[in-house]
């Protein structure tokens, strides 16, 4: 760690990981209700579990992004952070707001738009904390060297905050409500969060592959260009059936299909850079998460998205378990794995150690990734059967659900594996550190891999 203030990232990562554990535990509870419908029906109804699950996800991902930004900004700008104090206060507010939302949900206090359930005062606290973060980050950026990585990362975070403001706009007309709701939801996950993802991957590649920054940053511009060229009008694939005009169907088809390109280019980018690079970085677990992130994002967001975002397919599959399958793998691949990659990379430096507990960390990678893949397959099968019975044959919803119970049972089993993997990740990164380097490291480093 070259800069003292990078250490502010440490509490961010710890908070993020603890909330991550909470997120998957709520997910497991919700998954159990699908298998045993009366499970906790009185104590915690399904809708409370579900909003806790999704909100914790978004909160911990954002805290992870904040931590990642604080970690890399000093290195990128070659200057200390503007104010560690603002960072700590901002983290305190954000964690308090997230926890307050979670607790109030358990007492039935919430708003009612999906993912935006936070009571108004909590939304305002989140906004204040976000603005403090942007101020702190931007002041640091202005004071030092401006690289493409840091500029695109901060641009992504600024735009995320700007689009978040649509969370405060809730028109009485449901169609308008839904149209602007996607300004937050889609323009985040398929738009500006793509800038965050690409720039964080680029940072990891600069650090671990050893390829010239000039080349990596050129790729970065091409990728984020593809993200926004496809992603902005790709919003059209959410505008098919909510009262918006029919021209969104061809637009959604064309740009929805193009949304695969930036995701595929990130796969090529990460693998090609490690292939080209001469550095033999000892943190193999971080390399695994970096490559895994690009691959799983391509399948989860790209392939599974493409599978049902054509309007003539979506007409039948919209709002079935196919969507749930896509949502799970897309978030896991693109943003969960991204955060875990950064945390795996940064933790050894933050704790002043050489890479540690790598084997355990890689076990968690395969358990979680395998579990999420299995979960996605089962939900996809469930969704296909549901689509046929309910949308083609016209059988009613509840009768259809009875027919696909077996897939929910398999999904729950996969969920147990994911939770075990997540807990092992926490153990590997936060637990007692045992330094581990791959055998034969010196041999490889002597130049044989350079060819």
């Amino acid at each position: 760690m070259k800069y003292q203030t990078q250490k502010v990232a440490y509490p961010f990562f710890i908070a993020a990981l603890l909330l991550f554990a909470g997120q998957v535990l709520f997910g497991l509870l919700a998954g159990a209700v699908y298998v045993w419908p009366e499970f906790m029906a009185e104590a915690m109804p399904f809708h409370i579990m579900r909003m806790s699950h999704t909100n914790l996800l978004v909160v911990w991902l954002l805290i992870g992004f904040f931590g990642a930004t604080y970690y890399l900004l000093p290195e990128e700008t070659e200057t200390e952070l503007h104010s560690p104090m603002i960072a700590y206060i901002q983290l305190g507010i954000f964690v308090f707001a997230g926890a307050a939302a979670l607790i109030s949900y358990q007492f039935g206090i919430h708003e009612g738009r999906e993912f935006l359930e936070q009571p108004m005062w909590i939304k305002i606290l989140l906004t204040i904390s976000f603005l403090m973060f942007l101020y702190n980050g931007s002041r640091t950026l202005l004071a030092g060297r401006r690289t493409a990585i840091s500029m695109i990362l901060m641009a992504g975070l600024w735009l995320a905050a700007i689009f978040w403001l649509f969370a405060f706009y809730n028109p009485a007309n449901l169609s308008l409500d839904k149209m602007y709701w996607w300004y937050v939801i889609h323009l985040w996950v398929e738009g500006v969060w793509g800038l965050i993802m690409a720039s964080l991957l680029a940072y990891l590649l600069v650090k671990m592959s050893g390829v010239d920054r000039e080349i990596i940053e050129k790729w970065l511009y091409v990728i984020v260009g593809l993200v926004l060229f496809a992603g902005l009008l790709g919003t059209g694939h959410h505008y098919y059936w909510i009262g918006t005009p029919s021209y969104w169907q061809p637009l959604g088809n064309i740009f929805g299909a193009l949304e695969v390109l930036p995701l595929f280019s990130m796969v090529v980018f990460t693998f090609y850079m490690f292939w080209q690079g001469s550095r033999n970085h000892p943190n193999k677990a971080a390399i695994l998460w970096t490559l895994g992130c690009a691959v799983m994002a391509f399948f989860g967001a790209g392939v599974w998205g493409l599978m049902h975002n054509m309007s003539w397919v979506n007409y039948y599959s919209h709002g079935t378990q196919v969507t749930a399958a896509h949502g799970h793998l897309a978030f896991y691949g693109a943003y969960v794995m991204l955060n875990l990659a950064i945390i795996t990379y940064a933790m050894p430096q933050l704790r002043g150690k050489l890479p540690y507990n790598q084997i355990r960390n890689m076990w968690s990678f395969w358990l979680m990734t395998g579990g999420m893949a299995f979960m996605t397959f089962t939900l996809t099968f469930a969704g296909v059967v549901q689509t046929h019975l309910q949308r083609v044959m016209g059988q009613n919803y509840m009768a259809t659900q009875d027919q696909i119970w077996v897939f929910y049972a398999m999904r729950f089993s996969a969920g147990i594996i994911v939770v075990i993997g997540a807990l092992i990740f926490l153990w590997a990164t936060l637990g007692k550190a045992r330094e581990q380097r791959p055998k034969g490291d010196a041999h490889v480093a002597s130049g044989i891999s350079d060819g």
């Binding site: 809708h47 708003e111 493409a148 809730n170 449901l174 511009y221």
Partner: protein
Amino acid sequence: MIEGLSRNAARNIFLGGSIIFFIIFVGLTAHSHYYIVTESTNHEGLTESVKLGKHVWERESCINCHSLLGEGAYFAPELGNVWLRYGGADDPEAARQGIKSWIKLQPLGVPGRRQMPSYKHLSEEELDALVDFFRWTSEIDTQDWPPTISG
């Protein structure tokens, strides 16, 4: 493919292209806003009761089990066309009473069936408002979605 491109050229393409696509996107949503207000929804028919119904829908977070125009939690039935499923097009009064009494019956307590929580705290006015909201929603021009009445 990428060798012939300089970093600055890549940056300029990114910035220029993004701005152009963003302007197109905002323009089309502006038009869609106009289309929603004038064509596809009954914007004049947004009575106080429909607004109250939407508020109740949100206060109770129905979307975290049900879906509405295909968006939601997929754990419970689609309600964008629930008005039509209850026969609201032919017999509005029967549909109204049917939906209201179904909500009042919860929780059903049928073993092995997903349990909808109790909504006995909803007033008669709120229940009617909720039904008005469902009725209003069923009239949105959704390009003939969903494909079947089962939602």
